[in-house]
């Protein structure tokens, strides 16, 4: 077990390609951290720097109390699970599991005991004498996990370990990884581009964008108070609705529509407003905003209604039985609105009323 400190870490590849910029993160012993972000945002690069597979261009990485910048991967006391499993194809499952232990001159009896235990935990005992090519994707995935577990490292590193599995298996393996990590209590860093996987696994999420940290927080913190429009649109499904709007006193003007803010206005002038699809609700009479339905997605338990307010697209999530009226109007509790500065997309919280929107010239509302 170990804590990890990532201090001002950056990565510049040969040819002056900058992949990661100024990452600061303190990871507690036993924590499950998920690095999430779109493809190419530098997740793997950061993870590989922790593993020692890439040199650290800037800053320092500490595992436990030791700076590991110059330490070989083998000596960092980590184990890694790769997306393509990276099982040794010419060795049996047992040999795959034993390899790291043999290299470390672990006594034979100890090796046998650890392999047997890991195999039992992952339910791969009956495959120990097979070669990886004779296993299904899910079984290979388990072997890859087993290879990490037998070493009893202080840190597990996962690079999109479930991406090559089909959707159903992905869900069950996700649960299994979480259970194993709880049971072993090993500090884990998990890379994924799948926000659902990230939400379900993480103790703390680290949302990356363009090589920089966009937000760090528990899944619910990130979901309920996204730090930027990027996080707002990335975390949660369906993605948070983001529309251009203007705060006029206690009113919020969205295109032709206007809703009352009931004192929740954090700023004035042009803003980007975020609304979760499930926070929007259908109203009767002439309250709320007129909503022109374009199409409906039926998910069984939910119906996702896509449409426009003025010329801006919105999606609302309704329970499966909700009627969709002809002239639909929608409304939202002002407490559930998210405000972002239009200039840089950063969240404007109620406490931070000096928001960037104040200095932006406000366009006339199209009333």
């Amino acid at each position: 077990m170990a804590s990890i400190d990532i201090e001002s870490v950056g990565k510049v590849y040969t040819g002056n390609v900058r992949a990661v910029t100024d990452i600061n993160l303190a990871i507690k012993d036993g924590e499950f951290i998920v690095l999430v972000g779109p493809s190419g945002c530098g997740k793997s690069t950061l993870l590989r720097m922790l593993a020692g597979l890439e040199t650290i261009s800037e800053g320092a990485v500490k595992i436990g109390a030791r700076v590991v910048n110059q330490v070989e991967p083998a000596d960092r006391d980590i184990a890694m699970v790769f997306q393509n499993y990276a099982l040794y194809p010419h060795m049996t499952v047992r040999q795959n599991l034993e390899y790291g232990l043999k290299n470390r001159k672990t006594p034979k009896a100890e090796i046998d005991a650890r392999v047997a235990e890991a195999a039992r935990m992952l339910e791969i005992t009956q495959y120990l004498d097979r070669k990886p090519r004779a296993l299904s994707g899910g079984q290979r995935q388990r072997v890859a996990m087993g290879r990490a577990i037998v070493r009893k490292p202080s840190v597990f590193l996962f690079d999109e370990p479930l991406s090559n599995l089909d959707a159903k298996l992905r869900v069950s393996m996700r649960g299994e990884i979480k259970r194993l990590q709880r049971r072993l209590g090993t500090t884990s860093i998990y890379v994924t581009h799948d926000q659902l996987e990230a939400m379900t696994l993480a103790d703390r999420l680290v949302v990356l964008n363009g090589g920089k940290i966009e937000q760090v927080g528990s899944p619910l913190e990130v979901y309920h108070t996204p730090a930027s429009t990027f996080v707002a649109s990335f975390i949660g499904s369906p993605a948070m609705n983001l529309v251009k709007a203007e705060c006029q006193g206690d009113k919020l003007v969205i295109g032709p529509a206007m809703i009352s803010l009931n004192g929740y206005a954090p700023t004035s002038g042009a803003v980007t407003v975020g609304m979760r699809a499930e926070d929007l609700r259908v109203v009767t009479g002439d309250k709320g905003m007129p909503f022109a339905v374009e199409y409906v997605e039926e998910l069984g338990s939910q119906r996702l209604v896509h449409g426009v307010v003025g010329d801006q697209s919105l999606t609302i999530a309704l329970s499966g039985e909700t009627e969709i009226p002809a002239n639909m109007r929608i409304d939202i509790d002002p407490a559930k609105l998210h405000f972002f500065a239009q200039a840089d997309g950063k969240r404007i919280s109620a406490a931070d009323r000096s928001g960037a929107a104040a200095d932006a010239p406000s366009p006339a509302p199209v009333a």
């Binding site: 991967p73 083998a74 790769f82 010419h90």
Partner: protein, 295 residues
């Protein structure tokens, strides 16, 4: 395996027409002479070429009792093993070096491939001059170590000369295959092994080499075939099989006995035996090797 796209021909004859030129060449220059060789290995021709008589396996029986032929067999084995081992080891060594190289790998690859473009006879002449006992540069350096190099008189020297010339030419070929093999080993396997506490040299022996085994077996067969057949012109350009038969390998002996010695029957029998050796090697490759190296 067979889920690749297949071209289907509407015209039944088109494939044969397209194949015809190649088949024609193969028939005229390979199959027909091979057939002739088999035929004449069972016959004896009188000295003036007026009549031939069927003699059955007589030529073969004689060969099996001819100490010269058995010596040649042994020499060929030494030559084939030496050339194969040397050229494969050096090819692999260069491939590993280039594989680890990030920059200028392409330049090295190009340079390393050049010897393969050189005709065997030129390779022979090149090394013949380098080792020339009166003007060559290598004997000059060897003299400092007290070695008096003369492949015209010393049979061992002559054998070393043709081994070096033949191996030198083949290194490029082995290098290319080994390099392609090494580069197809997934990078993450090496990384996983590095995390598993395996250093670069151990990784090479534990991961790369086993995964290269299909390439290695393929090259082994190809190289043995090469030394059996394609080395004729190297011997011809350098030692002519001498001194005192010391470099008279099987393929050269076929030529000497048949073309120079005019003993066509025996020469044909020898070439049939050579052909059989190659057929066996290829059979081994397809039948056993390809299956055994699967993982």
């Amino acid at each position: 395996m067979m889920d690749t796209k297949r071209t289907t021909f509407q015209n039944k004859w088109l494939p044969y027409v397209l194949l015809a030129p190649q088949l024609f060449i193969t028939l005229i220059f390979f199959i027909w002479p091979a057939g002739q060789a088999v035929k004449s290995s069972f016959e004896r021709e009188d000295p003036f070429g007026f009549s031939t008589v069927f003699v059955g396996l007589q030529h073969y029986a004689r060969l099996m009792q001819d100490p010269n032929y058995l010596d040649s067999f042994l020499r060929t084995a030494v030559f084939a093993v030496a050339v194969t081992v040397i050229s494969m080891l050096l090819g692999l060594l260069f491939a590993v070096a280039v594989d680890r190289l990030m920059r200028s790998a392409r330049v090295y690859t190009t340079l390393l491939v050049w010897p393969y473009a050189v005709a065997p006879v030129v390779a022979g002449v090149l090394w013949f001059f380098l080792f020339n006992s009166s003007t060559g540069i290598l004997p000059y350096y060897l003299s400092f170590f007290g070695i008096k190099w003369d492949h015209n008189l010393n049979g061992t020297h002559a054998m070393i000369l043709i081994i070096i010339a033949a191996a030198w030419k083949q290194i490029s070929y082995n290098f290319l295959f080994f390099l392609a093999g090494l580069q197809s080993v997934p990078h993450t396997l090496m990384e996983a092994a590095a995390i598993d506490g395996s250093g670069p040299i151990k990784r090479f022996f534990d991961i790369s080499l086993p995964l290269l085994s299909p390439t290695t077996f393929f090259l082994f067969i190809v190289n043995v075939n090469y030394t059996m057949f394609d080395t004729f012109s190297i011997v011809d350009a350098t030692t002519n099989g001498g001194p005192a038969q010391s470099t008279n390998i099987l393929v050269y002996k076929v030529y000497q006995d048949g073309y120079l010695g005019l003993n066509l029957g025996s020469s044909s029998a020898q070439s049939v035996l050579l052909m059989l050796i190659v057929i066996v090697l290829i059979f081994v490759q397809f039948r056993f090797v390809e299956r055994r190296v699967q993982y």
